[in-house]
């Protein structure tokens, strides 16, 4: 018997279009509603049909939110899945499936449990029921709530008629019973505890958290040009555009998208664009306009590996330098990178207030791994959100670019008040008219690039410190690597190591420097040149002692970081 305790990782693998997503959806939803903590993440090839896509689902007694390399249960839907995943298989891996989908050379290395999916499906009426059977087995292994599974199927297939519903239920039952039987016959042992509270939690992806956060932050217009992995935010927003009463517009290119968002803000609305590195590259021209005209804007950039088209469906944190330095001329910006689904929601909402307050571009950096990950989270506290609009009613003498001590000029908008607004991408006087005057040119540069930056820095958020205040080792990471590092540190259980996670990447508060002093700094990033470590060096003059970098387009796994950290600590 192969036994799994506390935390099981199930991986489904098959061709694009084979319905893995259906199984994943049934499984995660039904198990969550049965009281299990779930986490899911997928990896897929840049193609519409065929290839091999896989999904990892973790089911656990406690909250799990990170990718593990280990596969406990594998359900392959076609040949080729095992070779594709061979580095993640062990003799503890149980493979459930058809014999023909398991290549001969793996039979020794795994525990194989033959399940005649196809035959079972045909018994129900059609090969189409294969997915439901697979989902049923997995739910059965956990003794998930069968009533919930039935209800789910009724809801999902209800529109297709009573026959389809009852056959799906029949298929699910066959699968479920088999799953239970595998446990009863002690072929597989699973010991994962349920938690009642989980039932009331929300199952949300990074994509959804960003989109909902934007809506909560008052986004009125979302503009975009499709590009993986950022498109999901547009899809979700468009699907709900009617309820939210927002505009979601697919533009002719990223240049139009970003300029539209600028126009929306200029007129007092809140605009966001969602894009990826290649799209952002096209937006850098408009970023400079935002800098010069002091036009607020929020940009969501879901990173994927570059340069150029790179690996379109994979993950990396390699666009930090792009967002830090893109745009010509000097002007500040705010760069945020949420580490968890909750953070993605609250931070995106906050991004709009920040853009409004400082009148600068605010860039939210995520990545493919982050947007495609989901897990259960406690319901958000919407009352904690504040809509902070910094628009003023203008008078006749209104000056759009009034020189102020903190570098922030009160922002008026057309049609609100007695003044007129003249915004300008050329160097300008306080009214917004073109100037080439020496003193003014200097003052305006200082206003934008220095005074405002100082103000922003004062208000910038500190990184989150987890663990001892005075550790010997300090692990540093940013954005989406949050949970994987956290889980590793929990597993390590050492007192002498702490974790500093950055979700606010720029500008950094001065007080960060002290946190970095007199410690062995270990930087963890998903890029090849340690871009964030370079930023810390530039800002604070500190050098990290160790770099743990990954740049093959795959997310860091708990095991990898565990091993790498052990290597550093020993």
């Amino acid at each position: 018997m192969v036994e799994f305790k506390e935390d099981v990782s199930i991986v489904l693998g098959g061709a694009a279009g084979q319905g893995i997503q259906t199984v994943e959806e049934i499984l995660t939803r039904v198990l969550k509603l049965s009281g299990y903590n779930v986490y899911a993440n997928k990896e897929y090839m840049s193609r519409v049909r065929g290839g091999i896509n896989t999904t990892e689902i973790r089911v656990s007694s406690k909250k799990v939110r990170a990718f593990v390399r280990r596969i406990d249960i594998l359900i392959p839907f076609k040949r080729g899945v095992l070779p594709w995943l061979q580095n993640r298989l062990s003799e503890n891996t149980v493979v459930l499936g058809e014999r023909e989908n398991v290549e001969e050379e793996f039979m020794e290395k795994i525990t194989f449990v033959e399940v005649p999916f196809n035959k079972m499906a045909k018994d129900v009426g059609s090969a189409l029921y294969l997915n439901t059977i697979a989902a049923g087995i997995a739910v059965g292994l956990f003794r998930g709530d069968f009533e919930i599974l039935k209800e789910y199927l009724r809801k999902r297939f209800g529109s297709k008629g009573e026959d389809v519903v009852s056959r799906n239920i029949e298929a699910a039952e066959k699968g479920y019973n088999l799953g239970v039987k595998l446990c009863e016959e002690k072929i597989i042992g699973i010991d994962v505890k349920k938690d009642e509270r989980v039932k009331e939690e929300v199952l949300l992806s990074g994509t959804e958290a960003i989109a909902l956060g934007a809506i909560a932050g008052g986004m009125n217009i979302l503009t975009f040009y499709p590009m993986s992995p950022s498109t999901g935010v547009a899809v979700f927003s468009a699907q709900h555009a009617e309820e939210f009463e927002i505009i979601v517009e697919q533009t002719e290119d990223e240049i139009a998208a970003v300029n539209m968002a600028l126009g929306a803000w200029f007129a007092g609305a809140r605009g966001m664009v969602t894009t990826s590195g290649g799209g952002f590259a096209l937006m850098s021209e408009a970023l400079s306009l935002a800098g010069m005209a002091e036009n607020p804007i929020v940009i969501h950039l879901a990173q994927r590996p570059g340069p150029a088209t790179g690996l379109p469906t994979r993950t990396l944190q390699s666009d930090l330098n792009l967002v830090l330095y893109s745009g010509h001329g000097e002007f500040p910006r705010i760069v945020l990178a949420p580490g968890s689904i909750e953070e993605a929601f609250y931070l995106t909402a906050t991004a709009f207030n920040l853009a409004d307050k400082y009148q600068v571009p605010v860039i939210i950096l995520t990545d493919q791994y982050f947007v495609d990950t989901y897990y259960n989270v406690p319901e958000f506290d919407l009352s904690a959100l504040k809509l902070e609009k910094h628009i003023v009613e203008t008078d006749e003498n209104y000056k759009r670019y009034l020189l102020t001590e903190d570098g922030i000029s009160p922002r008026g908008i057309p049609g609100y008040g007695k003044g007129v607004i003249v915004a300008n991408g050329n160097e300008h006087d306080e009214w917004g008219d073109i100037t080439e005057e020496e003193d003014l040119s200097r003052l305006m540069q200082e206003k934008r690039a220095i005074k405002k930056l100082i103000t922003m820095r004062k208000d910038a958020m500190m990184p989150e410190l987890i663990g001892s205040e005075d550790p010997r080792y300090l692990v540093i990471s940013w954005g989406s690597t949050y949970h994987v590092v956290k889980e590793v540190l929990e597993n390590l259980g050492r007192e002498d190591i702490a974790f500093l996670h950055f979700k606010w990447l720029y500008p950094l508060p001065d007080a960060v420097k002290e946190l970095l002093e007199d410690k062995v700094l270990i930087d963890i990033e998903q890029n090849v040149t340690a871009q964030f470590a370079e930023l810390l060096k530039k800002e604070f003059g500190v050098s990290v002692d160790h770099k743990i970098l990954k740049y093959d387009g795959r997310p860091f796994s708990v095991e990898e970081i565990f091993d790498a950290l052990k290597g550093v600590l020993e």
Binding site: V248, A269, I434
Partner: protein
């Protein structure tokens, strides 16, 4: 009618007009002040979004809201301004280089999108601000410092293109005809939907071919033209010498702002709205189950 003087800016920076003496841009400025007054508009409710070029400096020489943006980018910005606040009268201005070269893609897609804005193209058939290079509308054979062999690329025909794309309002004028130009621009602003007005005006500094006399001689006003007849409009649009002036084509159709989901139920300008937290709550509720 309000007074054209209402639109005279008194800001220190707007005194020093960067246009060359005798340039057609002055005439367009005067037309705008007059038309705004005739339409009883106030400076607060008008917005001019401009790109880059001599023509694009307009927001500094007139008292309305303005945004002097980047080369070729006025249209997406103007589209969003109108969408964010449909109560505003939005005008996009730029030269032929700005709108047809750098902004060419946006021009095509603005026509498809059909926001209720007016595009005024100061078409001097040359690049002014960068000192006399050929523009997309420069005539065949014209020699410039950067096309010393003479332009051999086929000139862009914005009128034919716009009609081909079934644009909502397409007109051409020569600003030497002040009254008629004012009339057309006024109709363009009043028109519901995207209105395109290609305005010939000489560049006295860099275009020695298309002068006032040239335009007088090589243009004519269309009489008895039915702007609702697309085929006729297209025939007129491909005439080359003399070039027809007037309103070529009108097609009433729904605007961008009318069709977006945001205004289906609620007409409040977007900037005055609050996030729909109750809808978020609903979605989160759904995400608890399935």
């Amino acid at each position: 009618m309000t007074s054209p003087m209402l639109f005279e800016p008194k800001r220190p920076g707007s005194k020093d007009i960067a246009w060359c003496p005798g340039c057609g841009n002055f005439g367009i400025r005067n037309i705008l002040r007059r038309v705004f007054a005739e339409l009883n508009l106030t400076p607060q409710e008008v917005v001019i979004i401009s790109g880059i070029g001599q023509a694009a400096k307009m927001p500094h020489y007139i008292k309305v809201n303005g945004y002097h943006t980047l080369h070729g980018r006025s249209l997406p910005i103007a589209t969003a301004v109108k969408a964010a606040n449909p109560k505003l009268t939005v005008i996009a201005e730029g030269g032929d280089g700005d709108m047809y070269a750098e902004g060419g893609n946006h021009f095509l897609h603005a026509i498809r999108r059909n926001p209720d804005i007016t595009i005024l193209i100061h078409d001097n058939q040359i690049y002014g601000l960068t000192k006399g290079q050929a523009s997309p509308t420069t005539m065949l054979g014209m020699k410039t410092p950067t096309q010393p062999w003479g332009v051999f690329e086929e000139p862009f025909n914005p009128i034919a293109l716009a009609i081909a794309l079934d644009a909502s309002f397409v007109a051409r004028t020569f600003m030497g005809y002040f009254e008629k130009s004012a009339e057309i621009i006024k109709k363009a602003i009043q028109h519901k939907g995207l209105a395109i007005v290609d305005i010939f005006h000489p560049c006295v500094s860099f275009n020695k071919v298309n002068t006032y006399e040239w335009y007088n001689k090589h243009t004519y006003w269309m009489e008895d033209h039915d702007p609702y007849n697309r085929e006729e409009a297209f025939k007129r649009a491909i005439e080359t010498d003399p070039l027809p002036l007037g309103i070529f084509y009108i097609r009433e159709k729904p605007t961008f702002e009318e069709q977006v989901t945001a205004y289906k139920k609620d007409k409040t300008p977007l900037w005055q709205r609050k996030p729909k937290l109750e809808e978020i709550k609903k979605i989160l509720g759904m995400k608890k189950g399935f």
